[in-house]
Amino acid sequence: MSDSAEPSRFPSRFGARARAVRGRLVLRRALTGLALGMGLAGLVAAALWWQRLGPERPWAAALGLLGALAGAAFAWRRRWSDGDVALYLDARLDGKEAISTAVGLEVTDGGAARKILGDALSVLESAEAKRARPRVLSRVHGLAPVGGLAIAYLSFIPLPPAPAGPEAPPGSELVQMANLLGLEKIEALDKLDPRDAEQRARLEGIARDAQKLREDLSKGLEKREAQARIAKLRDDIAAERMKLGTEENRPGLEAAVGKLNQSPHLKDAAKALGNGDLVEFDKEMQKLANMAETEAREAAKEAIEEAARAAREKGAGQLAEALEEQKRLFEEREGRAEALRQLAKELGDAGKLSEQALEDLKEFGESGSPEAQERLADALNDALEGLSEEERKRLAERLKKQLEQQGESGQMNPMTKQQLEDLAKKLATPEGQEQLRQQLKELAKEHASQEAEREKGLGDADRGGAEAERGLGMTPIPLQSPGGDGQQGPGNAGKKPGQGGDTKGQGGPGSKRDTGQGDHQGETKSVPGKELRSKANAKVNPGAPMQGGTLGRAPARAGETANRAGTGALGDVAPEELSGVERSELPQEYREQVGRYFQP
């Protein structure tokens, strides 16, 4: 170190060295930013891959560039001053702070200053000046290629499988069925003989809805929508079945039932009518019409007349008409039954009937049982086939003679007389005999009232709706129907324990199956409590009601004990229960269905 070094060269020399130092420091910072950016970009690419954002994955590399720019910007903002560079160079080149002192010199023309500048210049130009280069690379910079490779890898590998989405709402799946069984029974409602024009319109509407549902199902329909529409059809059918028991007909119905109850022969018929079960009511009336006891029949006719009158007085015109029709039908049945009995008597007297046929005749006269009537008609038919020409003529003569005798005594029912005349004419010729056989076959069949026919058709339609619901995977809910709950009739009630009942009970008006033929003798023994076992760990059968559970509606009946007067429809509800479904938290898609279910 000496004055021989030209101190004036120091500034340029130092400037060059400082630029190199700063440049490398900026490069180092930029690389650090790039590395951190690429590391972050790798994580972002992984996140994009995880989120299945495929096209965006390579763009994560832009974070690396952003990091490099940020690093360079940061380095530029924090760039070293000349003093810092000088300190760094002094430390690296062992300059004993000659460079720092030279940089900070205020006066450069003094002897000491020149000496310092010269020394500093010597340090800068020393052979080991390359030691002053700041290190550019560090271990952190290894993140850059790692991040780049990660991005490249994540950009090429297939995306992870998408997670299963939320389950579709129950019933939202499409169903497509060309022929849903059961719907045809609902469609057949438009063929029923309606009570009036209004009912015709309603029945045709129901049938039309069923046809529309069939068409929609053939194209494809949401299952829940199909179920809801079937439920609506069943509700409409149930409402139609309950028409005679509506609020306005109720007083008339109760008055008519009261009148019928006054006749001891019409107790069961009254019960059936009270239940609104016109089919059962019609059957009861058929039995009465078949009975041989004239007083009972007359009393029954009078009771029906009074019931019809009472119903009309109470404003139940439709019910009154139904009762009047029932009376006309009663008289026709009565005539047919009488003719049947007369023919059977004559054939029996001629020894042409078997013992069984005679038993059937006896039962027919006592109970009016339709089954006995059927068996008797069949026996008569067989007996007629076995008659010779001579016997047939003789039988016709006897019938005529009997007709004359009865006419003279005035005992014969006009209908019976006409029937006997017809019988005699028919027996006189082979063609007439054939006609008679056909009539006997007809007699074997039940002749229901129009109201009963409608009720039967509606019942068939409701069962068709239930069948359609089963076809769609639903568990049909029993709806309110006249006489459809199968309650025990009075015939099931035996005598007191120990006495032993000797009467054959009759099936109650609500019963579909109990014909009342059972023997109710004896008593039910008491069951020790210890032997009763609860069914532990019972397996619940999905879709089926729990044992002892109640499904469906339980309407109150006229004359029965109830907290509130029955209306025949859905019971009265408290004010706070009105529109409860709408206020509930049920999903919208179920509200309509549930609301329709609770629709009276």
Partner: protein, 344 residues
């Protein structure tokens, strides 16, 4: 001597002279290079030295040898409890004629303080009053006798000794007075080789006597040249940080300072650091002070300026340990620069 062309040659010459002085001293003093160096720094920086060491380690011999080698007027004051200030500074005495009668005038009888190299031997045995008389002269380079101020000859260089043992009957120097010494040199015991050499030299007939190798003008020139040595701003700041960190309530003070020090170094400590470092740089032929110069002079310059707390004394923490910790902890360069230096 002012800055001009030929500065480099003067630096070289200064180094040569100092080497010659070391060699001259080495003819008498065996070893103790560190002590000799520190004494030379102080001489060139224009300060005074407090030598501390056990008896018989050659303190007095060192001073006498230095005085011989420097060709300066040497005086020695043996401090004792009954030593009076006037015994140090001198006094006016009534002039008597040949007959023994008063001449009617007073004449100044100069004390030993009027030497150029003054050895204040066992300074802590004199009363504070006497010590203060010496310390005033050290600070002012002048004494006042009977109201008259007398400037002392330059260079004025006081080397005081004190014995760390036999503390009974001594008057420890007040902190304010210790601060007047540029450095405090602890004279170590010689090692085996050095002691062997000492024994060989001092037990024969021939006693070595150094030649005068440095004269007054040359000493003054060195002192002037010392002031021309440059110091960079970061180095001055480092010296400031060291001094600041020695105060226990300073923000950057290390734990040992907070715990063991009651008062740290002051402004005079900082001045002493820079001046001593400049002298060191000069003796090494450099025109600027380095961080390492500050670190090398920190211990002798600061050790007597730190006042230990009760806790520090109780724990046996020495000021030397504190200064070493300060040098270790206080950063020289900015953090970013230091990190870049360490990275390479």
């Amino acid at each position: 001597m002012t800055s001009s062309d030929g500065f480099a040659e003067r630096l070289t010459e200064a180094k040569t002279v100092s080497d010659r002085l070391r060699s001259a001293i080495a003819t008498v003093i065996v070893g103790q290079h560190g002590v000799v160096d520190q004494v030379l720094w102080t001489l060139i920086a224009g300060g005074h030295v407090l030598l501390e060491g056990a008896p018989g380690l050659g303190k007095t011999l060192l001073v006498r040898t230095l005085a011989s080698a420097l060709d300066l007027k040497f005086s020695r004051i043996q401090f004792t409890p009954d030593l009076m200030p006037s015994d140090v500074t001198g006094t006016n005495v009534l002039v008597m004629d040949a007959r023994g009668a008063s001449a009617g005038r007073f004449e100044l009888h100069r004390g030993p303080i009027f030497g150029q190299i003054v050895l204040a031997d066992e300074i802590n045995r004199a009363t504070p009053k006497t010590q203060s008389a010496l310390l005033e002269a050290m600070q002012e380079h002048a004494v006042t006798i009977a109201g008259t101020r007398h400037v002392l000859d330059e260079p004025f260089f006081v080397l005081a000794t004190e014995n760390p043992i036999e503390m009974e009957g001594t008057y420890p120097l007040p902190e304010a007075q210790l601060d007047r010494f540029l450095v405090k040199v602890v004279v170590p015991s010689p090692g085996e080789d050095e002691l062997t050499n000492i024994l060989n030299r001092t037990t024969g007939h021939q006693v070595a006597a150094p030649e005068a190798v440095l004269h007054r003008d040359e000493v003054m020139a060195l002192r002037a040249l010392c002031r021309d040595i440059q110091i960079a701003e970061p180095v001055v700041r480092y010296a400031s940080r060291l001094v600041t960190a020695s105060a226990p309530n300073a923000a950057g003070a290390p734990d040992v300072v907070r715990r063991a020090i009651r008062y740290g170094a002051g402004v005079r400590g900082g001045q002493s650091l820079v001046l001593t470092a400049k002298a060191l740089a000069l003796l090494e032929g450099r025109a600027q002070v380095a961080f390492s110069d500050i670190q090398r002079v920190a211990l002798p310059v600061l050790r007597h300026r730190l006042i230990r707390s009760f806790e520090g004394e109780a724990d046996g923490v020495t000021t030397d340990q504190v200064v070493e910790e300060l040098v270790r902890v206080v950063p020289t360069r900015p953090e970013a620069v230091e990190a870049a230096v360490q990275r390479n």
